[in-house]
Each structure stands twice: as C-alpha cells, then as structure tokens.
C-alpha cells in the first residue's frame, strides 16, 4: 500500500516536545474519515515512516490532525516540517474506542501524557452526542504543568457542566494551584457509577497497568475497560509481524484492546 501525499497546513507547538500537525490531502478525495483511536503511518520523505494516532475531531474530516512527541529520528524530522511541505500517509489503521457501545453508560477517560492524543477524538465524538451518555469524566495526568497538552481546550472542557475534567501532574513547584499526584489517585474520587461505566485508558504501559488495577478496585469490570497499546510497526496491515504483542498484532488487532483480552500479556514484561 503506497502512501498518499498530504500537505502540511499548520504545525502548532503544544508543549516543549510535542506539536500538532494539520494535514490536508494533496489529491484524491478532500475528506478523510476515521474512527476515534485509529492511527496513520506517517512518512517523512527520505527519513522514515512511523505510526501516529489521529488526534482531531472525527466529525470534521477536512483537516487531519496528529499530535506527536519528539523522541527520535522521524519525530524530529516531523517537527521541522513547514506549511505546504508534503508527507506520505497510509491509513487509517487499527481498532477504535467503541464509543457507540458505551451509550447509556458513564464514560471515564484516563489519559497519561501524550496518551491524551488518541483519546481526544473519542471525547469529541461523545460530546457531539452528549445526551446519549451518562456522566463523562476525563482524568488526565502529566509529568509537570508545562507538559499539559491542549491546555486551552482542557480549560474550555472544564467549564462545561456536562463534563468532569480532573488534571494532575507528577511534580510541580509551589504556586501551582492544581493537583499533584499520579493519575491513579484521581480514580477513587471521580464521579461515576463503576457498575455502569466504560473506561478508556491510554498512556505509558506502566501507567495503564496501575490504572486498570485502580479501576477494578473501584468496581469497574475488566470487560468494560479498553486500553491502547503501542509497538514498533512496519507494514501496519498484519503481514510483517513487527508489532506482535502476545498472540496478537497491534496494527490489526489493536491498538485498542479490551483489557480482559490482553491482560495476561500486559502484565508480562518484554512481550
């Protein structure tokens, strides 16, 4: 599957090391449909191709957004892109957050760090049909106040009466008026009915382990918890085996998995 050319329309710095790219198809259909939680293979010409989740609104298909953290070769090159530069794109790939199945229930979204990016489309979708859900709660943890993504949008969400937003940081200097403590500490006091709740979790793997445990302690069933996994990828269509995770391939069976289906593998190191 050859990549389609996309124009970079904007590059917005989010924090010190993360930025959001707005892309537009260079030819072919002007729209790009995807489901919340899916990812694209983004190809920076001459450098390499990497999986990046789609972070924009699935209801607004004209521009395609990817929020990326600069960690190495390709992400560094992505950050150097300028408006009207071209990138290659394959996708969308993978499973998605089953937001339709959560209708009638409370929804708890637990995000850690850059993990908010693949969850943001789920929140957009839920908010566009807000009356179909019970309580909607976003619990977001980052390293420091400076690492908070989508700060302006978080403030807007926080001012809504139909959405509960709790943010916390792992460390902060005195003067910070927000919460300090890991994201799991928000779970015991978040307002939701654990027996009628669906939880979506995305962040570093260790954070997801602690979070799934805390959600279960609160009374959320394993089959109502969904997590998004990351593995290095190459083909993204289930051929090469690069992204193997236990008996599954993250590119095709994931990245979004129901927790009880992958629990045994998540709790093992180096799988």
């Amino acid at each position: 599957m050859a990549p389609d050319p996309f124009y970079v329309r904007r590059l917005k710095p989010e924090t010190d090391d993360t930025f959001t790219l707005a892309l537009q198809p260079a030819d072919g259909p002007s729209k790009f449909n995807f489901e919340p939680g899916q990812f694209n293979m983004v190809y920076v010409f001459g450098v390499g191709e990497i999986p990046i989740s789609i972070s924009g609104d699935p209801g607004d298909s004209k521009l395609l957004f990817h929020t990326t953290r600069e960690v190495g070769l390709v992400t560094r090159a992505m950050r150097q892109l300028k408006p009207n530069d071209l990138v290659g794109l394959r996708g969308p790939f993978g499973t998605f957050w089953p937001v339709e199945d959560a209708e009638g229930k409370d929804v708890v979204i637990v995000a850690g760090g850059i993990g908010l990016a693949p969850l943001r489309p789920a929140l957009y979708r839920i908010l566009s049909r807000r009356d179909r859900y019970g309580r909607v709660v976003l619990l977001y943890g980052t390293r420091t106040p400076a690492d908070i993504l989508y700060r302006h949008e978080l403030e807007q969400w926080r001012s809504r009466f139909d959405l509960e937003v709790y943010a916390t940081v792992d460390r902060a200097m005195s003067g910070w008026r927000g919460n300090v403590g890991v994201v799991t500490t928000l779970i015991p006091r978040a307002p939701f009915d654990p027996r009628n709740t669906v939880a979506y979790v995305c962040g570093p793997e260790v954070m997801m382990r602690f979070t799934t445990q805390e959600l279960q302690k609160r009374g959320v069933n394993k089959d109502a918890i969904f997590i998004s996994m990351e593995r290095n990828m190459k083909c993204a269509v289930g051929f090469c085996g690069r992204c193997q995770f236990g008996p599954t391939f993250v590119c095709k069976d994931g990245p979004v998995f129901r927790f009880d289906k992958v629990e045994d593998w998540l709790m093992k190191w180096e799988i």
Partner: protein
Amino acid sequence: MKTKSLEELIAEAAFFKDLDPSYRQMLAGCGTNVVYKPGEFIFREGDESRQFYLIRTGSVALEINLPGKGAMIIQTLNEGEVLGWSCLIPPYRKHFDGRSVKQTRAIAFDGACIGKKCEEDAKLGYEFFRRFAGIMAQRLSATRLQLLDVYAKP
C-alpha cells in the same frame, strides 16, 4: 440551615465508613473544626506533630523546600482525604510543609487524644490503624508510580 455536628461530618467521610457509631462519637471528642485561608501554612516541616486532619472542603499541598530551587509540591490532598499521620508515630515531627491551596475546611484531630482512646479500646485501635494501613498502602503504590517517572523522555 442546621450545622452538622462533628460526628455527622465524620460519618460522611470514606475513612470512617462503616465504623461503629459509638467509636465515631469517641473520635469526634478528639476533633475540632478548623478553617485555613488560601496560601496559609497548616504546619511546617520539623514542627512538632500534634494533629492530623480530615479535609472537608478545599485542598492542601504537601511541600518540601529544595535548597536553591524553592518549594516543590509532593502531593495535593483533597476533600475527604486525611493528612498529618506523623502525630501518631514517633518522633512526632512533620516531614513536610502543609499549605492550604484553596480555602480549606477540615477537622483537626488531636493525635494524643486519639492514641489514648486506641490504647484503651483495642477494637477501636485495630479499626483505626486498619484504615490507616489501607491509606498508607494506597499512597505507597502511588509514590512508586510517581518514582517511575513514566512520562520522562525515552
């Protein structure tokens, strides 16, 4: 509007959930209502530790001073949470500064009074320290995750 008695306030807190009402009454005898303004220190590192607190509303930041860097917040505690355990454990000294972030209403319990009641009634002592151990375990687990620094740059 009728103001709630200390015993009623204690009954609402998760920490004292399912505790025998007669014990709640005993513990209420060791408590007083307190209010702190935003930014006010509730206690300072090194202070003799006489009281622990159940936060009714507001939030409290536990801070530690880093020479040359200023005060760093270790943890924030919120409504329904307890802090100030050092009043129950020798050498009875505060390990951190406790600063009210927003206007904070709390019940301050006298550590010596609680300690005495727990010694006199072993069942109360067990119930009290069982809850205490549960919270310690939860905080230890959270601290371990915090130490892992999972969001650090790879």
